[in-house]
Symmetry: C2
Subunit: 355 residues, 2 copies
C-alpha cells in the first residue's frame, strides 16, 4: 500500500507536524532533522496523494488559454475545444478561461500574459508570437512560478515549459513527399498558397516542402508563393488567377488557413479533377473537399488532443509531477478520404442542433 505522512513520521522518528513542515517547505526545521525526514521520504518512495491534498486545500486550478482572434477556422476550432473542455472541468477542479487577442499582436499577447500573472492563475497556454515583449512576458510568468505552454506555434529560447504542436518543417516535408508520390511522373509545376511569409510557421512549412520536392526523382518547378493572408476572398482570387495563368499546373500545396478560398476556387473552375491538392487542418471546408475529391490529402493536428494535452501538462507542472512524454507528443496526421474519422457529432440524432 502507499506510504503516508504517518509512515514518514514513524520512519524518521519525528512528529507529523515536522513532516508537514518538510514536505511543504515551511520554516522551523533544523537541517539535521530535515535530512532525516527527506531520507525517510526517499526510502519509502513516498508520493503525495494529490487528490487528498487538493481536497484539504479546496484547490482549484485556474488555467487561461490565450488565442488569436479572427475567422481562422483552425483557431476557432481550438477555441471550441477549450470551451468544450471547460464545460465540465470543475469536476477535475480545473477552471478554464479563454482570452483572445488580435492575431500576431505581440504587444496585446504580452499584456494578457501579464494580466494572467496578476490574477495568479495556475497555468497559461498561448499561441505564441515571435516578439521580444512576448519573450519577456513568458519569462515573467516563469519567474512567478506559473507553468507556461506554447500551443501550435512555439517560441524558441522562451523558457516555456512545453510546446504542444507539430514540427512545421516535417509538416512541409511530408506535404512535399506526398505531392511528389501522388504526381509520379506527371509533368507540370506546383503552386504554394500561404497566409503570410512573415509568419515563421509558414516559412518552415515552405522550407520543408521545397526540400522534399527537390529530393524527388522527377524535377519539378515550384511557383512563387501566393500570399493570401489567410483571407478567403484574396486566396480565391490568387488561386483562380493561377489556374487561369498556368494551364499545366500539376498541384497546389496550401500551407496556411486560406482553404475556404482555395476550395471555392477549385469547385468554381472544376480544376481539382486534374490537380493534386494538399492542405492543412481538418475543418468543415477541408473535410467536405476531401470527401468530395477536391482535395487529395489533409495534414492535421488534432485540436482536441492539443487542448487536453495543454491541460494535462499545466496540471502536472503545477503539481510538480512528471509529464508522460509519449502521451503529450502531437502527431502530424495524414488524412485521405478513406481514413478520415467521422465528423464529431455524427453520432447525434439528425435533428440535434449544433453540438
Amino acid at each position: 500500500m502507499r506510504p503516508t505522512v504517518h509512515d514518514i513520521a514513524e520512519r524518521a522518528g519525528v512528529s507529523l507536524a515536522t513532516v508537514d513542515r518538510v514536505l511543504n517547505d515551511r520554516p522551523g526545521v533544523r537541517g539535521v532533522t530535515r535530512a532525516k525526514v527527506e531520507g525517510a521520504i526517499a526510502e519509502l518512495g513516498y508520493v503525495r496523494d494529490v487528490a487528498a491534498a487538493n481536497l484539504a486545500k479546496s484547490r482549484v486550478y485556474p488555467l487561461v488559454f490565450i488565442l488569436p482572434e479572427g475567422d481562422n477556422p483552425f483557431m476557432r476550432g481550438l477555441e471550441d475545444e477549450v470551451r468544450r473542455a471547460g464545460a465540465h472541468s470543475m469536476v477535475e477542479r480545473t477552471q478554464l478561461s479563454v482570452v483572445t487577442v488580435p492575431a500576431f499582436d505581440g504587444r496585446a499577447l504580452a499584456r494578457e500574459i501579464d494580466g494572467a500573472i496578476e490574477r495568479a492563475v495556475a497555468g497559461i497556454a498561448a499561441v505564441a508570437v515571435d516578439a521580444p515583449e512576448v519573450l519577456a512576458a513568458i519569462g515573467r510568468a516563469r519567474e512567478a512560478g506559473i507553468p507556461f505552454v506554447t500551443l501550435v506555434s512555439d517560441l524558441a529560447n522562451s523558457g516555456r515549459d512545453h510546446f504542444i504542436g507539430v514540427d512545421n518543417i516535417a509538416a512541409g516535408r511530408t506535404a512535399g513527399s506526398l505531392m511528389g508520390r501522388f504526381l509520379g511522373e506527371r509533368p507540370g509545376p506546383v503552386a504554394v498558397l500561404a497566409g503570410s511569409m512573415r509568419v515563421r510557421d509558414h516559412g518552415e512549412r515552405l522550407e520543408g516542402f521545397l526540400a522534399a520536392m527537390s529530393a524527388m526523382p522527377v524535377s519539378r518547378a515550384v511557383l512563387p508563393v501566393l500570399e493570401g493572408q489567410d483571407d478567403p476572398e484574396l486566396s480565391f482570387g490568387l488561386i483562380a488567377k493561377c489556374l487561369a495563368d498556368v494551364p499545366d499546373l500539376a498541384g497546389i500545396y496550401s500551407l496556411g488557413a486560406g482553404n475556404r478560398g482555395l476550395v471555392k476556387a477549385l469547385a468554381a473552375t472544376g480544376a481539382a479533377r486534374s490537380l493534386c491538392v494538399i492542405a492543412h487542418e481538418v475543418t468543415d471546408e477541408t473535410r467536405a473537399a476531401l470527401e468530395g475529391g477536391l482535395v487529395d490529402a489533409v495534414l492535421n493536428q488534432d485540436a482536441g488532443h492539443e487542448v487536453r494535452s495543454a491541460i494535462r501538462v499545466l496540471r502536472a507542472k503545477a503539481d510538480g509531477l512528471p509529464v508522460i512524454a509519449a502521451q503529450e507528443r502531437i502527431r502530424l496526421e495524414i488524412f485521405i478520404k478513406d481514413n478520415l474519422p467521422s465528423e464529431p457529432g455524427a453520432d447525434d440524432t439528425p435533428g440535434a442542433a449544433g453540438n
Copy 2:
C-alpha cells in the same frame, strides 16, 4: 462552488444520513423522501467528488488486460505499454495486471475472463476472439457489473462497453487508395501478405483493400492472398517466392504481423527499390524499413493511446461517469518517412540502455 451532500440535505430538508442512503442506494428510505432528495440533487446539479469518495473508501481499481501470447511485435508492444502504465498507476489508485493467453484460443480467453470476474476486478480489457464461449464470458462480466472493453479486435453483439481499436475495413481501404495513388499508371499486379484469413480482422482489411483497388482508374490484378500465419520464416519464404515468380510485381500490402519476414525478403532481394510496399503497425522492423526506404507507408494504431484509453474508459464506467467520445476514438494513422515521430527514448542520453 460545487454543491456538496450538505447542500442536498439542506435543499431537501433531510439529514446527511438520508442523503447518503439515497446516493448510495441503501435501504430504509421512503419513496416520497427519495423523490425529494433526488429532486434536490437534480436542481443543484450535484456531481459526486469521486476523488473524495475514493479517499474515504481507500478505493483501488484493479484492472486486468488479457492479451494474446506469441512474438507478434504489435501485441508485445501493447503489453509493454500496459506494463509501463502499470509502473506508476498506483498514484491514480489503479492496479494493472496483464494476463496472456494463447493467440486465438477462445476457451483460454473465456477462462481468464471468468477468473477476473471471480477476483471481482474493477474492469477487463481484452483482445477479443470470435468464439461463442468468449461471447458468453463477456456477458457474465457485464452481468456481474464489471465494465468490459474490447481492445484492437472487437466482438459484435457482445455487450462490451466500448471497443478500442481501428475500423479494419477502413484500414484496408486506406491501404488500397494509397497503393493506387502511389503506383499511378505503373503497370503490374499487387500481392497481399496476411496472417490467416480465418482471422476476421485480416478478412476485413482485405475486403477494404480490394474495394479501394477496384475503384482506382487503373485496373490492376490482386494476386491470391499469401497466408504467412504471422510467422517470420514462412512469410519470408512466401514473399521471396512471389518476388521470384512475378517479375512485374508492382506492390505488396502486408495486412498482418508478418513484417519481419517481409522486410527481410525485401532487403535480401533488393526488390523494394521498384515496389510500393504498405504495411501495418509501427514496430522496430517497420520503422527501420520506412526510414530505409524499403517500405513506403505504415498504417498504424497507437498502442500507448489504446492502453491509456482502455484505462480511462474502464475507470469512467466503474465510476458511472461519461466517456469523452472524441478522446477515445482511435485514429488510423498514416506514416511515411517524413511524418514518422522520433523513436520513444530517442531523447535519452545516447548511452542509456533500452527503454
